[in-house]
C-alpha cells in the first residue's frame, strides 16, 4: 500500500479542520474495513495524502437513550450494536442489520459511522488498479457507467440515472426504516440530517470537511413489529443483493403505522412510500402483502441482468409484511 501522512485526531474539531485544510486530499479512517481496500487497490483517481485516525476521539462510541431518542456515537462498532441490550430491546431491526454485516472480525472493528459512509461495492468502480488499471466510470468523473451494458446483476433497479451503483450500507437501510437522523460536524458547525436524506446518486451529502458524529433514533413504539431481511448468496461476508427493513404497528388487526425501506436496489435506500400508504388502515393479509409488494416496485426499471432483483425485492416486501402479522420468529429462515 502506498503510504500517506497519518494523524491521530484528538477531537472532532481537529478532524474537520484537517479535512478543510487538505481540501479533499485527507481521508478519515475509523474501522478502516472499507477504506483500506480502496487504498490497496488504488481504485480512485487521486490517492489521499493523509489519513486521519478518528478512533482516539473520546465520546464517540456510546449507546445511550433518553425518553424520546436513542443516541449512537459514530465510532460505535457493529459488534457493540449487536450486543447492546438497549438496541435489542428498542431497535431489534438495527441489531439484525448489524449482525448481517460481513464477518465477526469485521464487526469487531467496523463502526456504524463507517458503515454509513462506505463507498459503493460496484465492481466496475472498485476494479483493482493492479490488473490493467482502475476503471474510470461516471462516479469517478468518467463519461459512462460501464454497468449499464455490462455485468449489472447487482446494480440498481430503480432511482439511478448516470451511475447504477447501489448504496451498500445495511445500517443505512435499517436507520432509514427507524426514521433516524445523524449529526454532521464540519468547520462551520454542526447540522442534523435524516439518514433517509444522507445519500445522493453519486455518494452522500457530506461536504469535504464534514464527518458523522452521531446517529439519533426516535424511540420506536414498543409494540411495533421490526423486521430486517437481507438477501445474499451467502449469509456471512456478502453485501446485500436486496434488503428490506420494516417497522409496522398493528392495532386490533389494522396497520396503523408502517415504514418499509429497500436496500441495494438503488443508489440510496428507498422508502416504499406507495406501499406504506397502501398498507395504512388495512387489515394485513397475504393478498394485501402481495399488493404492497407490487406497489413497492413502482418505478423500477431493471437493467439487462438484474430483473431478478425486482422479484426478490417483491418477495422481501411481501415477507416483511407477512412477518409482522404472524407470531415472532415463526419464519425462522425467511431469506
Amino acid at each position: 500500500m502506498k503510504t500517506f501522512a497519518h494523524v491521530n485526531a484528538g477531537s472532532v474539531d481537529e478532524v474537520t479542520n484537517l479535512l478543510a485544510q487538505n481540501q479533499g486530499k485527507a481521508k478519515i479512517n475509523a474501522g478502516g474495513t472499507d477504506l483500506l481496500g480502496v487504498l490497496k487497490h488504488r481504485i480512485l483517481p487521486e490517492y489521499p495524502e493523509m489519513l486521519i485516525n478518528i478512533k482516539k476521539i473520546t465520546g464517540l462510541n456510546i449507546i445511550e437513550a433518553d425518553e424520546e431518542w436513542i443516541r449512537i456515537g459514530a465510532l460505535t462498532t457493529l459488534v457493540e450494536i449487536v450486543k447492546s441490550p438497549l438496541i435489542e430491546k428498542t431497535c431489534s431491526l438495527l441489531k439484525e442489520a448489524a449482525r448481517s454485516v460481513a464477518s465477526p472480525q469485521i464487526r469487531n472493528i467496523a463502526t456504524i459511522g463507517g458503515n454509513l459512509c462506505q463507498d459503493t461495492r460496484c465492481w466496475y468502480y472498485r476494479y483493482p488498479d493492479e490488473i490493467g488499471g482502475m476503471i474510470k466510470c461516471f462516479r469517478k468523473g468518467g463519461k459512462t457507467c460501464p454497468a449499464v451494458a455490462g455485468e449489472n446483476q447487482y446494480h440498481a433497479i430503480m432511482g439511478a440515472k448516470k451511475c447504477f451503483a447501489v448504496c451498500p450500507s445495511d445500517m443505512a437501510v435499517a436507520l432509514t426504516a427507524l426514521g433516524a437522523v445523524c449529526t454532521l460536524a464540519g468547520v462551520k458547525g454542526v447540522r442534523t440530517i435524516a439518514v433517509e436524506e444522507l445519500y445522493t446518486p453519486l455518494g452522500n451529502v457530506l461536504s469535504p470537511d464534514e464527518m458523522i458524529t452521531a446517529i439519533h433514533i426516535p424511540k420506536p413504539a414498543p409494540d411495533a413489529k421490526q423486521t430486517f431481511f437481507k438477501f445474499t448468496l451467502r449469509k456471512p461476508i456478502d453485501f446485500a443483493i436486496v434488503s428490506a427493513a420494516s417497522i409496522i404497528t398493528i392495532d386490533k388487526g389494522i396497520c396503523t403505522d408502517v415504514r418499509i425501506v429497500l436496500g441495494a436496489v438503488a443508489p440510496t435506500p428507498v422508502r416504499a412510500l406507495k406501499a406504506e400508504e397502501f398498507l395504512k388502515g388495512k387489515a394485513l393479509s397475504e393478498e394485501i402483502a402481495d399488493q404492497a409488494a407490487l406497489l413497492a416496485m413502482d418505478g423500477a426499471k431493471p437493467l439487462a441482468k438484474n430483473a431478478y432483483k425486482l422479484e426478490i425485492a417483491k418477495t422481501l416486501v411481501k415477507r416483511v409484511v407477512k412477518d409482522s402479522v404472524v407470531t415472532v420468529n415463526s419464519l425462522n429462515d425467511p431469506v
Binding site: V7, N8, T33
Partner: protein, 173 residues
C-alpha cells in the same frame, strides 16, 4: 498539505504476545510506515509468520489475530493505529515458558482439523476468541464465529468437532 513534521521520529509501541515492541515510524527499510498493516508488521518486522495473508481484503480471515481479546483481521488494521494495543498471534497461544500448546491447538491435532493448514492459524485465533468470551458455545455459535474464516480444503466439519471437543459442556447441542 498539512502534516506533522516530526512524524519520522515518532515511535509506536504495541504489545505482541506479551512483549512490548517499539517501532520507529518512517520510510526506512526497518521502519514502519503509516501504510503498513498490522499483518505486514507482524510478519515482516517481527518474523511472526504464523499470521497468514491470503485475500488481504478482510474477507478470508487467514490473518486473524486477537486485539485486546477480540478477533480482528490484521490485514485491515494500520500498525500505526494499534498503539498501546495487546495483540495475540498464533505464536502467542499456549505457554511460552513450558512450550505447552493450548488445548484448542491440541484438539486441532487430535481431530486432524486441517488439510493444507494455511488458514488454520486464523481459524484457531477466531475460535479462541469465541471460547474466551463464551466457553460453552453451541455448534451453531461456533459456525457463526468462524463465518469470516475461509477454508478451501473443506476441513470445516473436523474444525467444528475440534472446537466442540474443548468447549465446556452445557452449551453443547
Amino acid at each position: 498539505m498539512t502534516t506533522t513534521q516530526n512524524l519520522s521520529y515518532a515511535t509506536i509501541t504495541l504489545t505482541v504476545n506479551g512483549e512490548n515492541h517499539s517501532f520507529i515510524l518512517g520510510e526506512g527499510s526497518h521502519e514502519v510506515t503509516p501504510s503498513h498493516t498490522l499483518a505486514h508488521t507482524l510478519r515482516e518486522r517481527l518474523g511472526l509468520t504464523g499470521t497468514k495473508v491470503s485475500c488481504d481484503d478482510g474477507a478470508c480471515g487467514c490473518c486473524t489475530v486477537q486485539m485486546d481479546g477480540k478477533a480482528v483481521n490484521s490485514c485491515l488494521l494500520l500498525t500505526v493505529e494499534c498503539e498501546g494495543k495487546e495483540i495475540t498471534t498464533i505464536e502467542g497461544l499456549g505457554d511460552p515458558v513450558t512450550g505447552t500448546i493450548d488445548p484448542l491447538q491440541k484438539s486441532f491435532i487430535d481431530h486432524t482439523a486441517f488439510q493444507c493448514g494455511f488458514c488454520t492459524p486464523g481459524i484457531i485465533m477466531s475460535a479462541k476468541s469465541l471460547l474466551t468470551e463464551n466457553p460453552a458455545p453451541t455448534r451453531d455459535e461456533v459456525k457463526e464465529s468462524l463465518a469470516g474464516n475461509f477454508c478451501r480444503c473443506n476441513s470445516h466439519y473436523h474444525v467444528l468437532d475440534a472446537v466442540m471437543a474443548v468447549a465446556r459442556k452445557g452449551g453443547n447441542k
